[in-house]
Every structure is written in C-alpha cells, then in structure tokens.
C-alpha cells in the first residue's frame, strides 16, 4: 500500500504536489482548520449573549467583527474547501481518470485559499458576510473592509477555477465505457454544483469590484449620495449567493447518496430521480434570489414572482429526502458513525426545508426576516445538513485518507452531542425569532423570555463545542495511532468490494 501513513513523505512533497489526492488533503486540512477557528468564534458569540449586558467582549465593534468573520470563515473556508477536498479525492476515481483534468490549475485554485484566509482573519471586517451597501461603502472601517473584499475576490477566482476543473474532468475525461447516466450521484452532485458556481459567481465578482471602486471614491454604483442604488448591490449579491446555497448543499446531498445505500446494504432507490432532482434544483435555484429582499420595499408583483420561484425549488429537495427514505426502507441498516451523521442530516434537512417554506410565504416573512428565526433556519442547513453530511463523509473517507480507522465510539459520541446541541440551538433560535429578537446584535434588553432562550441556546452551543473537541482528538489520534483499516470493507458491511481504490493515491506525475 502506498498510503501516507505507511510511507511518510515530507510535508513539502505534499504541498508542492499536483496529484489530486494531495491537493485534496491540503483542502481537507485547510477546511478543518477553518472549522475550528470559525467554531471558536461561534462559542465566543454565544457566551457573550448568555446574559444581557456586556460579558467578556468589551465593545460592539469587536462583536460585529466576530460574527462577520465567523460567517465568512465557515461558509467560504470550511464548507466550500471541504467539498473541494472530497471532490478532489473522489471525482477522478468516480469518472475513472488518473487525475483532475488540469492538475496545475487545481493546485493554483487551492493555493489562492491560504492568502484569502490570511486577509480575512488579519483584517477582521465588521460589515457582516453580506457587506450590504451603503454601510460597506461609506461607513465600514478600513483596511479591514478592503482586505475582506480582496480575500473574497481570491476565493471567488479559486472557486471558478475549481468549478471549471470539475466540469472538464467529468465531461471530458470520463471513461468512455461510463455513460453519464450511470455515473455515481456524488459525481453528479459535483457536476451540477460546479455548473451553478460557474454561472452564479461572476455576478458577485463584479459586485465586489464595484464595491471596491465605490469605497475608493472612484465610482458610486451603490452610494446613494453619488446617485447609486444600494438595492442593486443586494440583487447582485443574492443572485450569486442564493444559488450558492445550492452549491453548498448539493455536495452534502451527494455525500449522503454515497453513505446511505452502503450502510443500508441496498442500491439507491432511484438513480434517475436523484439526477433529475440535482438538475432541477440547479435550474430553479436561479429563480428565487430576491426572497431575501422582501423587506427592501419590493412591489407586490415582484414579491409574488420570487415567492413562486422559491416554492418551486422545494420539490427537488423533497425528492432527495424521499429517495433516502425509500433506500433505507427494508434495508439491513448498519448504524456506523457515517450512517448516523447522514440520517441525522436528512432529518435536519427536512426541518430546515419546512421552515424555509414559512419564510418564503410573503406575510410570514415580515415576522421572521432578519430575526433569530432566519439565523436558526439557515444554520439548520449549513450546520444541520451540510456540516452533518460533511462530518459523516469525513468519517467515511477517513480510512481512504489515512489507511486507519477512527475510534467508532468517539465518533458516535461526537454525533450524539452535535445532534442534541444542534436541535437545542437552532430550533430554539426559530422561537426566539418569533419573539422578535433581531439578528446581529451585541446586547439585548432584559426580556425574560429572551434571556431564558439565549441561555438555553448557549448551553446547546457548548455541548456542540465539547463534541467538536472530542472529534478533533479522535481524528488527530486515529490518523497516527488508529487501528489499521481493512481497505476493501472497513466497516464489515459485507457486500461486494466497494470501498474506494487506495491504489489511485499513487502519483502518476
């Protein structure tokens, strides 16, 4: 076997390699670093909100910077690089090619992330991850804001290069014997999410440049005192970032499509409907962006159009849930750690989607908009669905990456704590939002219900935090000292040989 573990290589051999599994490993390590850094900020935010008044964060500006960097880090430096990590490891294997289509471009796309990471963390901007104009143009303190803009610019270019690489690898380097319709659903998820990325991202890239020239005083696209329109920024922003939500969630669904059938010991219920749902979502996902903007003074007609666009994206997601449940139905399910994460993720995906239908209904949106309801809602997606799918897949791919097995008991404890914590935190945040607490606030008036719910949420967040500490210990210890895995069937599921071929980790160039 030629795994990293058996044949240790110096770190620069991995860093300067362009082999897909090496770049995948770099993506993986970066994304986990971002997970723990962004997660620490989340715990600090929760501690500050445990009681009204100032706790240990001395001023509101620091707090505003903390939640801005928390969001930016976990979306752009954890979720996206994690998806790229898995894609790099597995897409070439799934389409039966020796590497990504453009190995050097692949390495370049990765190496744009560390400087962006540094810019975002050294700047520590305060204008929320939305960077709404005109606050971001006229009031946000520099150089933090400008560093954030440059950081996001780099990440945008990196994502576009990565997306091109996945699309070309899948469509042009696919083995001629493998028809597109028989390609695994995980590879399909990369194809569709990369296509969405390629169409959506340039809009925000343009908006970022306009924001920068506005800040420099060279232009006034979004600055009302120079005749610009701040709402135009919101349209450009959400035209990219609503579809981006699907870019984040589709690979996580793809992870579950790999995990669920393996541990249910049954083939997927319907391969065709999985493909159809991916393709459908990637098209209708572009018809709903302005549902984030009902409160900006949109006309009744505009709101109606975007409500219909939003609701029409629901059946595609519902089809995935059906497919998972129908696959598990009557299967001999083995609840290993990856399977527990996947099933928990599906349950939370369903809850998040149901809450989303409420948001999209126009009259109800005015109750929930910019309140803690929305915070709870999208965290059920990013944490409950995407991070759960990602953790499950990290445990699943762990033997392939390291040649060793993680500690199963600690993995299950990690899941149980995270699941309890997630339900405590994000379901309660929905209710807190209905009680009227706005998001992004450093301090709140001492309303008894608000205090009680905030304390409950903070306790839930601490439970997640302890679970994550166990997770960190588990992966660090197990990657060096864990039990050696049986590389054909690490979990004794006992079907035919199915696990990823470790031979593919030998570099060809």
């Amino acid at each position: 076997m030629t795994l990293e573990i058996q044949k240790p290589r110096p770190i620069w051999k991995i860093m300067f390699s362009t082999h897909h599994t090496d770049v995948g490993l770099l993506y993986l390590i970066t994304s986990l670093a971002a997970l723990f850094m962004g997660g620490t900020l989340a715990l600090a935010i929760r501690l500050e909100l445990f009681l009204p008044g100032s706790q240990f964060v001395s001023d509101s500006m620091t707090f505003n910077r903390m939640f801005t960097v928390h969001g930016t880090t976990l979306i752009f430096l954890f979720i996206l690089p994690f998806a790229s990590a898995v894609g790099n490891y597995l897409v070439p294997i799934m389409v039966r090619y020796k590497d990504m289509a453009y190995p050097k471009l692949n390495a370049i796309a990765y190496w744009m992330i560390p400087p962006a990471f540094a810019l975002i963390w050294l700047g520590f901007a305060d204008f929320t991850w939305n960077a709404y104009a005109p606050y971001s143009v006229t009031r946000a303190p520099g150089p933090a804001a400008d560093m954030w803009i440059f950081g996001l610019k780099l990440l945008g270019i990196s994502s576009i290069l990565g997306a091109i690489n996945f699309i070309v690898t899948i469509l042009k380097c696919k083995h001629p014997d493998l028809p597109l319709s028989k390609m695994p659903l995980l590879a399909w998820s990369y194809l569709t999410s990369s296509l969405i990325m390629l169409v959506a991202m340039p809009t925000f890239a343009a908006a970022l440049l306009m924001l920068l020239t506005d800040r420099l005083g060279l232009s006034g696209f979004f600055n009302p005192s120079m005749g610009g329109d701040p709402i135009a920024y919101q349209h450009l922003f959400w035209f990219t970032f609503h579809p981006e939500v699907y870019v984040l969630v589709i690979p996580a669904i793809g992870f579950m499509y790999d995990i669920i059938p393996r541990f249910s010991r049954k083939p997927i219920f319907s391969h065709v409907s999985g493909i159809a749902a991916f393709v459908l979502l990637s098209i209708v996902g572009f018809a709903s962006w302005a549902h984030h903007m009902y409160a900006t003074g949109m006309s009744f007609t505009e709101k109606t159009v975007f409500m219909i666009g939003t609701l029409s994206a629901v059946p595609a997601s519902a089809m995935h849930v059906f497919n998972f449940l129908a696959t598990m139905w009557g299967g001999r399910i083995k609840f290993t750690t990856p399977m527990m994460w996947a099933v928990g993720g599906i349950a939370l995906f369903f809850s998040a989607g149901a809450g989303g239908v409420v948001n999209s209904a126009m009259p109800l949106d005015f109750m929930t908009h910019d309140s803690y309801w929305v915070v709870g809602h999208f965290h059920l997606f990013v944490m409950g669905t995407i991070a759960f799918g990602s953790f499950g897949f990290l445990y699943y791919i762990f033997p392939y990456v390291t040649g060793r097995l993680y500690n199963e008991k600690l993995g299950k404890i990690h899941f149980v704590m995270s699941f309890i914590g997630t339900v405590m935190v994000f379901f309660t945040q929905h209710i807190l939002g209905l009680y009227g607490m706005p998001r992004r606030i450093y301090d709140y008036p001492p309303i008894p219900e608000w205090i009680a719910m905030n304390q409950f949420i903070t306790i839930g967040a601490m439970i997640i935090g302890i679970g994550m500490a166990i997770f960190l210990i588990n992966i660090i210890y197990s990657s060096g000292k864990g039990k050696e895995a049986n590389m054909d069937d690490p979990w004794n599921v006992g079907r035919e040989k199915y696990y990823y071929p470790y031979q593919s980790k030998t570099p060809h160039h």
Partner: protein
C-alpha cells in the same frame, strides 16, 4: 437502470406540490389584503439614521426615540434613511420595512391594543445597531 415502478415517488411529489400551491395561494391572498392601505390613514414620516429613529406627524410635531399613536387609527409610515440601510420594525404588530437611503418605503398598521411597544432596527447598521431602539405608546383616548 431502475426496473421497479416509481409510483410512490410520483404520489409523494404530487402531495408536496399540492401543499406548496396551497401555501403560495394563501400567502398571495393574505399579502394582497394586508397591503391595501386604508385611504384615511394618517401619514407618519419615519427617518432612520445612525443610531436613532425620528418620527414626524402630519401636523408637523416631531418625536425622537418615541412615538405616540392612538388606538384604532390607521397609520401609514413613510420610511426613509439618512445614511445606511436600517429596518423599521414594530415586532408586536409585524410592521417591518427597510429604511433605504434614496427611497421612500411605506408600510401601514392600525394598533388595536393600547400600551407600550418596542420599536427596533432589524438590519445591521454599524456600531450601535443593537441599541437602535425606540418606544411606541398607543393611547386609548378617542379624540
């Protein structure tokens, strides 16, 4: 590929679509009704700026940080901003609209309970966003 029949999935998708159509139609109808502003609504100019609210009644009286209204009257807010985007929110009455510089956004309500209510900013607007609050007093007198 899949040789088995897929009718359960079609039924399921049908049920989901029917539910969504119901939610959408109901939301459309309610929004249509509640967006209709009564013609006798009194106009109140609301100005948001970092980090307080100013209210101007039709008779020209101005209030800062508090707003006195009468029960069972209709009020139409014309919401503007002097600097960055704020969001004018009376949570107990589900009054919510952004204060966008360069635009006038309108929203209306008719208080049906007297008492004291919170007015807050729901869109991030900088340093003191968390404390950009005002008080709404709804008085009972029928003058």
């Amino acid at each position: 590929m899949n040789t088995h029949s897929n009718w359960p999935e079609w039924i399921y998708v049908g049920v989901v679509v029917a539910l969504l159509i119901y939610v959408g139609a109901e939301a459309w109808n309610i929004e249509r009704i509640i967006e209709h502003i009564p013609s006798d609504a009194e106009i109140i100019q609301v100005t948001g700026q970092q980090w307080f609210w100013t209210f101007e009644h039709e008779d020209g009286t101005k209030e800062i940080g508090e707003l006195h209204l009468k029960k069972d009257h209709a009020y139409k807010f014309e919401v503007v901003s002097k600097d960055v985007i704020h969001s004018f929110n009376i949570h107990d009455y589900v009054v919510l609209v952004d204060a966008v510089p360069g635009r006038v956004n309108t929203v209306w309500f008719s208080p049906d309970e007297s008492g004291e209510f919170d007015i807050q900013c729901r869109e991030y607007c900088g340093l003191i966003h968390y404390n950009m609050r005002a008080k709404l007093y709804v008085d009972d007198d029928k003058s």
